[in-house]
Assembly symmetry: C2
Homo-oligomer: 629 residues x 2
């Protein structure tokens, strides 16, 4: 955490000084705004928290609810999400209050007496060390609280406007605020309507999204839904794995058991079977007592004495997806840029059982958040916005394919399995997917072709930047390189040095000089008056350990002068940790490499240190505001 460089900060350094639109931010919803986000769920709130970092951008986020969510449905937090929370500054706090999954138990009918269940396997949750971040379970309401805190502490002091319902919208491309949105105040008995205008609208308004309707998108997919009785309960039981995530398959049906934060609460998804449209919602009449009775049958010979029900529902869902995530019709692709975006459940619905929904939704919101910020801040052309739908629709499709497999397996009867360990084998084999690390974006305006991938095999282009340990030179601290990256909207350029020592003539020194001095350097786009690292966070990693790097000989490009006192930022200069050499762990060429990382942590390009022309060429269209603005 870096602070004090604008003068001494006495209080919580997480509270950033207000700036730009945060200085006189209207407490009430104004008539015009840059971005209107509809819905304060995970997708909407992360987008808001990201946009809140751009002082020039006025963002509002509305919700029908009168205030914060009290209890939410989602609770699965994959490691990729915790990695994301790290960038937003609350990973350690939410981890401290969450349940942590380190293994999963599988229970099946006892072959000796199939009326009784027995534990058959207990595989580790992340046996291959996919991530240094944990896999958590915690109620969605707390995730939203933390994003709300981030947004409120950001320079723009963004706070949700509760009690507003989205009604409809119209677009007039010629207007300064092209999207006219009709809202209804929820507290008004008469349901008074009001029109506000925005440059862009993000629909994060859930599976019944009205924003989706307004742009003529439709969820398409399965006709059949699968129904589950879900309950968050406090109970006394003799089932020994009640604090372990379990798949329980018995002759009486299936349960997915999800222990929850706090040491006592747990969730059970009790299988209620496939539901055909002709059911006409009858399954929804299933009572909590029926769900509890069913759970007791499945758990036999163990019993469940429910003492308190925190929440319950009948959860009925199919696998459905929209074919686009914005308002550009296929015929207009490449001819206009989008004004309206949909995210999260508005675009993709699926079972809750793989614990993916909230996670994928948050990555939707992170993705659109920085892109809107860059366009509205004048850093990038509007063409950047077309990459949102192109990138995220593919991810949603992969999610639905995965979830179909997983939920089909989970709903199988014991005798239907091809092998006795089919379910747990699938779980272990596919661990990288549910952990959130399989996403790989295709080449685009912001993802290069993998021409030089061999220079850094551990940083696949299009996948998220996987952190590794390094030593910070200025203080010798062992740190994780990627954990220093904040969700501050900046591009990151990681410069892995060649073997020369700092100060010696070398490719890395030449590159550093070019970065600082060349008019072709992407850094040259940074407006005068801002800190030199305001748009690009450039870090160097030397091959020596920290005692082998003379910080006095490190090029200026890696020691920028920041803030009103023009102080040296020393936290850009790193060294290899001899015990976990990042050059070895991430397959980085000893001749050095440049790794370009997007504001949402995805690797955009890998280049040789001498490839200044290619680096300039990569960023030229990304920064070409004058061409299309």
């Amino acid at each position: 955490m870096q602070f004090h460089h604008h003068g001494y900060v006495s209080g919580d350094p997480r509270v950033q000084p207000p700036a730009g639109t945060g200085i006189d931010r209207p407490a009430e919803l104004p008539d015009t705004m840059d971005v209107l986000i509809v819905g304060t769920g995970p997708a909407g709130m992360i987008a808001a928290a990201q946009l809140a970092q751009f002082p020039s951008v006025h963002t509002r986020i509305i919700d029908r609810r009168p205030g914060r969510l009290e209890i939410g449905q989602a609770d699965g937090i994959q490691a990729r999400s915790v990695e994301t929370f790290q960038a937003f500054g609350f990973a350690e706090r939410i981890t401290a209050e969450a349940y942590r999954i380190t293994e999963m138990a599988f229970w099946k009918p006892d072959p000796a007496d199939p009326s009784r269940i027995v534990r058959t396997a207990r595989p580790a949750d992340d046996p291959t060390g996919v991530s240094e971040f944990p896999h958590l379970l915690v109620n969605q309401a707390r995730v939203l609280d933390y994003f709300a805190e981030c947004a409120a502490n950001a320079p723009t002091r963004l706070r949700p406007d509760y009690g507003w319902e989205f009604v409809r919208l119209e677009v007039d491309d010629a207007a300064e605020y092209p999207v006219s949105v009709t809202l209804r105040r929820i507290e008004d008995a008469g349901g008074a309507e009001r029109v506000v205008r925005a440059k862009y609208v993000v629909g994060a308004d859930g599976a019944r999204s009205k924003v989706r309707e307004a742009i003529g998108c439709h969820l398409a997919g399965d006709q059949a839904n699968h129904a589950w009785g879900v309950m968050d309960v406090l109970a006394v039981t003799d089932f020994p794995d009640i604090r372990t995530k379990c798949s329980i398959q018995s002759e009486a049906g299936n349960i997915l058991l999800i222990p929850r934060e706090g040491g006592y609460l747990f969730r059970m998804y009790v299988d209620l079977g496939e539901v055909r449209p002709e059911d006409h919602g009858a399954v929804r009449a299933t009572t909590i007592d029926q769900i509890i009775a069913r759970a007791n049958e499945i758990l036999h010979p163990y019993t469940l004495d429910v003492r308190d029900v925190a929440w319950h529902s009948v959860y009925e869902v199919g696998h459905r997806l929209t074919d686009r995530f914005d308002d550009v019709l296929p015929a207009d692709l490449g001819r206009r840029t989008p004004r309206i975006f949909i995210t999260g459940d508005a675009c993709h619905t699926h079972s809750a059982k793989a614990g993916q929904g909230m996670n994928v939704s948050m990555q939707d919101g992170f993705n659109i958040g920085w892109k809107l910020g860059h366009v509205l801040d004048g850093r990038s052309p509007e063409a950047l916005l077309a990459t949102y739908s192109a990138e995220r629709q593919v991810v949603a499709k992969e999610l639905i394919d995965f979830d179909k497999q997983w939920s089909t397996l989970m709903a199988k009867k014991p005798e239907e399995f091809a092998s006795p360990t089919e379910l747990e084998d699938f779980y272990v084999r596919t661990a990288e997917f549910p952990a959130g690390f399989m996403t790989q974006y295709s080449p685009s305006l912001i993802v290069a072709e993998a021409e030089h991938q061999a220079l850094a095999t551990g940083f696949p282009i299009g996948k998220r930047f996987k952190s590794a340990p390094v030593e910070r030179v200025c203080d010798g601290n062992p740190v994780h390189l990627g954990h220093h990256a904040r969700a501050d909207g900046r591009w990151r350029i990681y410069v892995f040095a060649d073997a020369a020592r700092a100060g010696e003539a070398s490719a890395v020194r030449d590159f550093a000089d070019w970065l600082t001095a060349s008019p072709e350097s992407p850094l040259a786009a940074t407006p005068a008056g801002l800190d030199p690292d305001a748009w690009f966070d450039v870090k160097v990693v030397y091959q020596q350990d920290h005692t082998g790097v003379d910080i006095g000989a490190v090029p200026e490009a890696f020691l920028p002068r920041v803030g009103p006192f023009e102080l040296i930022d020393y936290e850009k200069v790193y060294a290899a940790d001899p015990e976990h050499d990042i050059f070895v762990e991430r397959g980085i060429d000893r001749g050095g490499a440049i790794v370009v990382v997007r504001p949402d942590q995805y690797v955009a390009d890998v280049l040789p240190l001498r490839a200044t022309d290619e680096l300039a060429a990569f960023f030229r269209p990304v920064l070409a505001v004058s061409v299309s603005a």
Copy 2:
């Protein structure tokens, strides 16, 4: 973190439900209270945060200041303090914003040109792994903020009463509230006085303590003070170790350099030499420009361009100590129990350079806090309070002896050293002391004789309980056994099992049954209506790994039923981690052992599993309220 067992908690689980005196706590300072703490520094605030956990105890804490401290003098946070913060629930948050010391650099005159300094050594800060917690630097104001948050979130909703000055006190042992304290409202121009009455008073009012005066204590020690110019500054320099803790000795004098939180700020202690009484405070007239000029001379050939001064002072201090920390005169020892206590700088002053002051002061406050809580809550006799002065005065004496050595070494001229590495050798050799782990309390009412120490050599009786990794059985999570201990005022009984498996006839099962059922068990003292673990937190550690422990066969003593729903608390049952076997790492006998730990984390006793009589005998006087109340 455990919650939800009283029903679903929607918001931040760190905010405990209000209880007892927290339900209708008066916003304004009332006329009577159980405990009055004078001073909101580190000693006072930790005592308040600890007492805030006792719903039956009404504690007030006053300060002359009109509000929170904006910038404090102390900044060194030893690992023992971070361990303590863990128990108060904010270790990870303060670590995230603090500077972390991992090594220290030593600079001396270059033998080739003694007018220039050169780096001569760079030893690791904790080469032997004294603690799993880091050594930090962060402003005292932030430490106080976190304790204030703990106290406000505690059941008693304790908040400081600012703007009150302590004037004098009188004691009438016969009264219900024996201590009458005269206060003055700071905001009143006339300085109106007011009398409040308390059962106990804690003086945490600093080196010029009026509470100390009121009980006739005096600081005794050196006649001579040593003076240092201290400055917290933002500067540009070419000194390469500006972000590393440094001892700099040059021909022009000495500097202790302390990098600070946030990446830019640093503190320098610039040596101004010994001050004799006849100086009459002339040294205090040293200006910030003189301090900066002196720093530049010492740093030669490097330069320091100070751009902003956050704080500066001339720091003049001797080594002084009071001979008692309470109001019981030597002649009355054992004949009356104390009513008034002094803590922190009120009892001991010394140089700031070993970074000890705030840390030792916090342990003073932690020590008196739980003891007052136990006496006022009716758990323990007043005799417990006599152990405060007895324990902490010795620690203060050790601190002053250590600091004399360290500050004498730091002030030496290069040519005065016995060997060229005398200073850094001392630093490395004594690492356990400044880390805060050398304290070992002598046998007393609450520390047993070390008769059975051989059963657990890694838990020395009288020293703090050093955590080690274990596996939690219910969920297979790898956890640190000691990190689960909250500063909740409870005694802890760690039961290390013999080799039998859970459920088999064994010494551990017999002990568990005795704990639950015997009228001689210390747990029998817990009042009816409270949770069975309200006074004693009993945990078991089995020798098998977590898959080898059948939680269904674990004795009830280790699975208490808690809260209104009588839910099972599963977080008392642990297993050895095969990769870091706690039985090996802490030298625990394979026949098992009982380790009794005080509420302030010090080991009180080590016993064999069969020693129920000895355990009962240990606790009998500790719990013997009726005898002396």
